[in-house]
């Protein structure tokens, strides 16, 4: 039946013509004697049986709506622009958020994927031993496959930088369900020697998306490898550049101990459960073979066992992005606020628009249209408006998201995909706002004062939202300025970092120590390199850890660094008392702490020779020195302190070297390393890159909130402009009389603007109170550390708001002054 109805719809004019012919024939037969009455009406009644009347009426409404919009282009353009901006901005922010953080990786059958953890009496780790994983693969019988992955940074071609590499087992791509965009990824049983797979973004940025990339030879860690394929799969960590076969690790790291070592737990392992095997059952099944392994291999004294947890949870973004995540969440909150401003703005526009059309509705109702019919007309018009706004917003959203991603040089790869559900719900909310806030009240009340009051309330809502946004933007911008020019307490300009994973080359502690000693000598012979220090982590880098001493220094986060004696000299961190490290100091007996930590823990900087930590029940080190405060980890944080412990022979394997290098002579450092051992390829880079990435979050927050604040202010000004212009047009006659009676310009202006003082004033006060009292807790804490009582920021934001509101209202108000009394009086 539905097909017949659709067919009718398509051939409607033919059907209707036939019906008309048939009925007129009938009428002739009866000689017009019986009651045909209104033939048109009879025909319509017969045609109504097909149930398409609503469509026809909708078409009428829509046609009329389009005509109305064409007649008032300024209203239409404003409304569509407001809608497009409101919807587009939200869409953009949610896209970035979704692409960067929320969207889970598309893994093949994630339910049967588990991650393996290695546990033992010495502790729990997310890394698993390579040989243990191989043993489980062979013996367990509950897994159909085990995927191994090891993260590394390796030298790329002849450049000085290093790139992210994952050494993976051959089944990696098939188990995770990743395919090649071009060429071929690894498959189980392939000969993968000398082959690598690269990511699509890496292909674009480092190889210029060259079509000849697949099959070409490149150098990785100084070794020649062939690119076998390009993929767009993103694994557990946030950046992925290159995948290389784990089985061929010795090719990239000659002497790698991976396959002989039963102690290191340095491989991430994922397993595919066989069909029907539960996580608990798999855990049970592993117990016996691992116990047996302990008997065969007595060197496994720490009695390992394996823990499992569901796999897909482990494919979230890494912790490093958390800070940016929180910032973007705040931006999302802001976007929601902007959206409420948009809705208030639209509703207010609608109220004005409807007031102007009052005669039209009066006419319609005089001609017999019911209230429902008029309402349907307006609902149809709003829907048209929202539909156009939605389409424009879709493109605005995509464009803005692209700009955000490209301008911020986000350290994450973002897959942009506009979400139609989000777009539809945004449009739906805007539509409801127009109907519920704009249409219904306007139709129900015919009294002008109430409409005016309604509009003033809507303006107040918009001002409140803008005020909140401007205040946050002002504070964020001030914070960014302060941070960008602040003294971090250590000098990292011209300091370069040389990194090399000696442990991956299988270097023993003495060999590592001698490598670094030779490198130090080699550097000393080059006049371009002034000052060298060793540490296990880089200040402002990603692998720094923070801890806390809740009993001795509550609320303080303490960065712990392993450094050698010249470290303080290199970074020009003054020692306030005591000495730097000297031979004989070990990580168990000596520590240097920062001034702030000393003051929080002991209330004094005279702490040389005292124990650290203060009230630890167990082992204590002796404080040998107190260093000045230095912001080594979080530039913006206000709750950080530092502690330093000396290098040990074992930490030499994972050490890195920092050197002060004369301007732009980065290759001097690489050359020094080459003189020591040409077969080891270290990476060198400037420390300021770390600083720049640490500045990203405050920069993003400042730029983002300012852009959005200005946008919100612009929307509000549109609203104010509209209201004032409308007020002037309503009161033309009154103004004319006043002017004829000799009122001065100032008092006429005041008459017009007076109505705005309350909504703007109250809106601004509510906004300020919300930010200064309500949001201050969130803004002052981690990770924003924004000073919510910065008088300059508050004054700046409020001034911007008031000046903009005045500017928006004075334009149309000034028009009132130009009213000619005689013409105004002739108006009705």
């Amino acid at each position: 039946m539905i097909w017949r109805r659709l067919y009718y719809l398509l051939r409607r004019s033919k059907f209707e013509r036939e019906l008309a012919e048939e009925m007129s024939a009938h009428q002739e037969e009866t000689g017009g004697q019986c009651g045909f009455g209104n033939t048109l009406r009879l025909r319509e009644e017969a045609a109504d049986i097909w149930g398409w009347r609503w469509l026809q009426e909708w078409k009428q409404d829509a046609t009329h709506g389009v005509r109305v919009f064409r007649r008032s282009p300024s209203f239409t353009i404003t409304a569509v622009a407001v809608l497009a901006l409101g919807i587009g901005l939200n869409l953009a922010l949610f896209q970035v958020l979704n692409g960067a953080f929320v969207a889970p990786l598309k893994l093949r059958d994630p339910k049967t994927l588990v991650r393996l953890f290695q546990d033992s009496k010495f502790g729990f780790s997310s890394g698993v031993n390579y040989n243990l994983a191989q043993f489980i693969k062979k013996e367990s019988g509950v897994f159909s496959g085990i995927v191994l992955e090891q993260y590394a940074r390796m030298g790329w071609q002849d450049t000085l930088e290093q790139v992210d590499v994952r050494l993976v087992s051959a089944n990696y791509f098939d188990e995770f369900g990743a395919r090649a965009l071009h060429g071929r990824v690894f498959h189980e049983g392939d000969n993968t020697s000398g082959a690598i797979v690269i990511s699509e973004p890496f292909w674009r940025t480092n190889l210029g998306a060259s079509p000849e990339a697949v099959g070409s030879k490149v150098r990785l860690n100084g070794r020649v490898v062939t690119i076998s394929g390009i993929t767009n799969f993103y694994g557990a960590r946030n950046t992925a550049a290159i995948w290389a076969p784990l089985e061929q690790i010795e090719y990239l790291y000659p002497g790698s101990p991976l396959k002989t070592d039963w102690h290191a737990r340095n491989v991430d392992a994922y397993a595919r459960l066989k069909p029907g095997v539960s996580v608990a059952a798999a855990k049970d099944a592993l117990r016996a073979p691992i116990t047996e392994l302990g008997r065969v291999r007595p060197e496994l004294q720490d009695e390992p066992w394996i823990d499992l947890s569901s796999g897909s949870n482990h494919f979230r973004r890494s912790r490093d992005d958390k800070e940016i995540f929180v910032v973007i969440s705040l931006l999302v909150g802001i976007a929601v606020l902007v959206f409420s401003i948009t809705c208030a703005n639209l509703a207010s526009l609608m109220v004005s628009h409807l007031s102007a059309r009052a005669p039209e509705f009066r006419m319609r109702s005089n001609l017999g249209a019911g209230r429902a019919r008029v309402l349907r007309q307006l609902v149809t018009e709003s829907s048209l408006l929202v539909a156009v706004g939605l389409i424009c917003g879709w493109f605005v959203g995509y464009g803005v998201a692209r700009v955000i991603v490209s301008r911020t040089a986000a350290p994450f790869e973002v897959m942009l995909s506009p979400d139609w559900r989000l777009a539809a719900s945004a449009a739906g909310i805007a539509w409801l706002a127009i109907i519920l806030v704009g249409l219904l009240p306007a139709l129900r009340t015919t009294r002008q004062e109430r409409r005016n009051r309604m509009q003033r309330v809507l303006i107040g809502v918009q001002v409140t939202g803008s005020c909140i946004l401007l205040l946050v933007a002002g504070m964020a911008t001030r914070k960014f300025q302060n941070v960008a020019t602040a003294d971090l307490g250590f000098q990292f300009e011209n300091v370069a970092v040389l990194e090399v994973s000696l442990d991956r080359y299988g270097a023993a502690p003495d060999a590592a120590a001698s490598y670094w000693a030779s490198l130090r000598d080699s550097a000393a012979s080059d006049p371009r390199l002034r000052g060298v220090a060793l540490a296990t982590t880089v200040p402002l880098g990603n692998s720094l850890n923070e801890g806390s001493y809740d009993r001795d220094a509550p609320g303080l986060k303490v960065v712990r660094m392993t450094v050698d004696a010249p470290f303080f000299d290199l970074f020009q961190i003054p020692l306030l008392s005591g000495r730097t490290f000297q031979p004989g100091d070990t990580r168990d007996n000596a520590v240097i702490i920062s001034r702030r930590l000393a003051e929080q823990m002991y209330g004094s900087v005279n702490v040389i020779g005292r124990g650290f930590p203060k009230t630890s029940p167990g082992h204590k080190s002796t404080i040998v020195g107190v260093a000045a405060d230095a912001k080594l980890l979080k530039i913006t944080a206000t709750n950080m302190a530092e502690s330093y412990i000396p290098m040990t022979p074992d930490s030499m394997k994972t050490a890195l070297l920092m050197a002060r290098v004369d301007n732009n002579q980065l290759d001097a450092l690489r050359a020094a390393a080459n003189r020591v051992n040409p077969s080891i390829t270290p990476s060198v880079r400037w420390m300021r890159e770390g600083f720049e990435s640490r500045m990203l979050a405050p920069k993003l927050m400042s730029l983002g909130s300012t852009a959005i604040g200005v946008l919100a202010l612009a929307l509000t000004c549109i609203g104010i402009f509209g209201l004032v212009a409308y007020t002037v047009s309503l009161r033309t006659k009154e103004i004319g009389i006043r002017m004829a009676l000799g009122a001065r310009g100032g008092s006429v202006l005041w008459l017009i603007v007076r109505g705005l003082t309350w909504p703007v004033g109250i809106g601004a006060i509510i906004g300020a109170v919300v930010v200064i009292i309500g949001l201050s807790k969130i803004l002052q804490g981690e990770p924003f550390f924004v000073d919510s009582s910065d008088p300059l920021a508050i004054a700046g934001a409020l001034t911007a708001l008031i000046v903009a509101a005045l500017a928006a209202s004075l334009g149309p108000a000034a028009r009132a002054l130009r009213i000619d009394p005689s013409t105004a009086l002739r108006e009705q």
Binding site: Y8, E22, A25, A47, D48, I49
Partner: protein, 110 residues
């Protein structure tokens, strides 16, 4: 405007289907046939006949074909389809069952 003078509500569709069982008819002829068969009791108004015919078309119970009537006029004849025939039987059976039941009640309550 009164819809059906003389036609009991809900029976029009059934009657139209029933008169079409003997062969195709055009709209006016259907009205005439019903009028005659009812012994001049029932009069089908155009205001109800044509909506009913549209409904039959929509349900697929009849097909409309243009033809030339005996009087040489171009008319639209309605042919009963297979599903229309089935529908007709079902409606007649149902109606007879109901009518018998109503009759029984009237008789019993006398």
């Amino acid at each position: 405007m009164p819809r059906d003078t003389g036609v009991p509500s809900g029976t029009l569709i059934m009657m139209v289907l029933q008169v079409l069982r003997n062969g195709p008819l055009h709209g006016y002829a259907i009205a005439q046939r019903i009028h005659l068969l009812s012994g001049d009791e029932l009069r089908v108004e155009e205001g109800s006949l044509y909506p009913a015919l549209q409904k039959l078309l929509m349900q697929g119970w009849v097909k409309a074909v243009w033809a030339v009537s005996e009087s040489g006029r171009k008319v639209r004849e309605y042919h009963l389809t297979t599903s229309g025939r089935k529908q007709c039987e079902a409606e007649v059976n149902e109606y007879e069952r109901m009518a018998a039941a109503v009759k029984a009640v009237l008789k019993g309550a006398r």
